[in-house]
Symmetry: C2
Subunit: 223 residues, 2 copies
């Protein structure tokens, strides 16, 4: 039973995919699953799956596989989805309101329980079951409810300043949808959901495959 001082970042990221998969299998009344079946559903090799789990313990039965119910519960505990996590959302534009109604967060026991916008016309309205508050209330609500995690969906030109404010209010993790790299002091985790850059990467890959832009072909450009 290997146990390390640290866990590969990528392993942590994949655990959530495993959990989602297992929950679906459980819904379909599947009781036992092997690492090779996981490989077919997700794009993760069976060894990868087993290795990932090995950092936390031994959850399978040799010669048999994994108990879906049990493993889901274990991964849930590891990830912390056994506890409800309350999130705030800042910026209720098109994207923000889509996120407020997005059902996918619930799978991980995540709930956007507060939403903020500086547009007074939006304040007071309810979206995705959440009443929108004015930005003025931000600090007080975060402090009072001791919130740690924020989704940032304000226009790009305000992202940096709002992010700084969030950090000053005690927010420790930000999922940033604005297409800009936030530069922040202190021990705050930032994850960028950069849709345009993601799409651009796809275009680039396609370009490589198609016109086989040879990288050995030297196009030396001198200023």
């Amino acid at each position: 039973m290997e146990r390390r001082a640290y866990i590969p970042q990528e392993t942590a990221r994949r655990l959530s995919l495993y959990l989602r998969m297992l929950r679906r299998l459980r819904q379909e009344k599947v009781r036992i699953v092997s690492s090779d079946q996981i490989r077919r559903f997700l794009n993760v090799s069976s060894v990868q799956f087993r290795k990932d789990l090995s950092y936390f313990g031994e959850f399978g039965k040799r010669g048999v596989g994994y108990d879906v119910e049990l493993l889901a519960k274990e991964i849930g505990k590891i990830l912390g989805t056994d506890v409800l996590h309350e999130i705030i959302l800042v910026g209720v534009g098109r994207l923000g309101s889509a996120l407020l109604e997005y059902p996918g967060f619930l799978e991980f026991n995540l709930k956007i329980s507060e939403a903020f916008d500086r547009n007074t016309r939006k304040v007071g309205k309810v979206c995705g079951g959440v009443r929108i508050r004015h930005m003025r209330a931000l600090r007080q609500v975060i402090k009072k409810r001791n919130l740690r995690i924020a989704v940032l969906s304000v226009p790009v030109e305000f992202a940096q300043e709002v992010a700084e404010e969030l950090v000053s209010c005690g927010i420790k993790a930000i999922l940033n949808f604005a297409p800009v790299n936030l530069v922040l002091e202190g021990d705050v985790f930032v994850s960028n959901a950069d849709m345009a850059s993601e799409l651009e990467s796809l275009v680039y890959k396609l370009k490589q495959k198609n016109n086989n832009y040879s990288l050995t072909k030297k196009r030396s450009i001198v200023i």
Copy 2:
């Protein structure tokens, strides 16, 4: 001047961040930039930046830095943003309509030029300057306009079947917003914009910091 048979995937991904940064600097009339300044704006070490560029050529002046205008142009050429790429979007729900109005794609010369939904009430309406068509027209439009890239924002339970249809119509790259791993035949690139999983990873990291297992020692706190 090093030139390899292929480019690290991560390098390709970062190029789009560089380009966006350079465009902003250009807007602000900055003419020259050094790799160390880049490090401050993006969370990429200066060596990383130089190394990334070195796969494509020598674009800087030693002792000076990089010509913003010129470098932006070169990276644009590498990425293919010098040409307009037309994209389709399938599934005009909350998220889909937010994406149709999302301005960030234009930075990379990407344009959602067709949108599809199977809800006849939505068909014919205009969103983000695009008239929504019925799914029936999917094949014909893709073939006729020779489109290659799709954004998939249908509900999770339809994602797999719609993705298969897209591939059968000739789509070669899919940006998938549904929280499911698409299993597809053929040479199609899939990129998952998995917002819930992303948020879950943040929660996990936060949990680690507070105690239990620790993640790998990180170069920086940005993911």
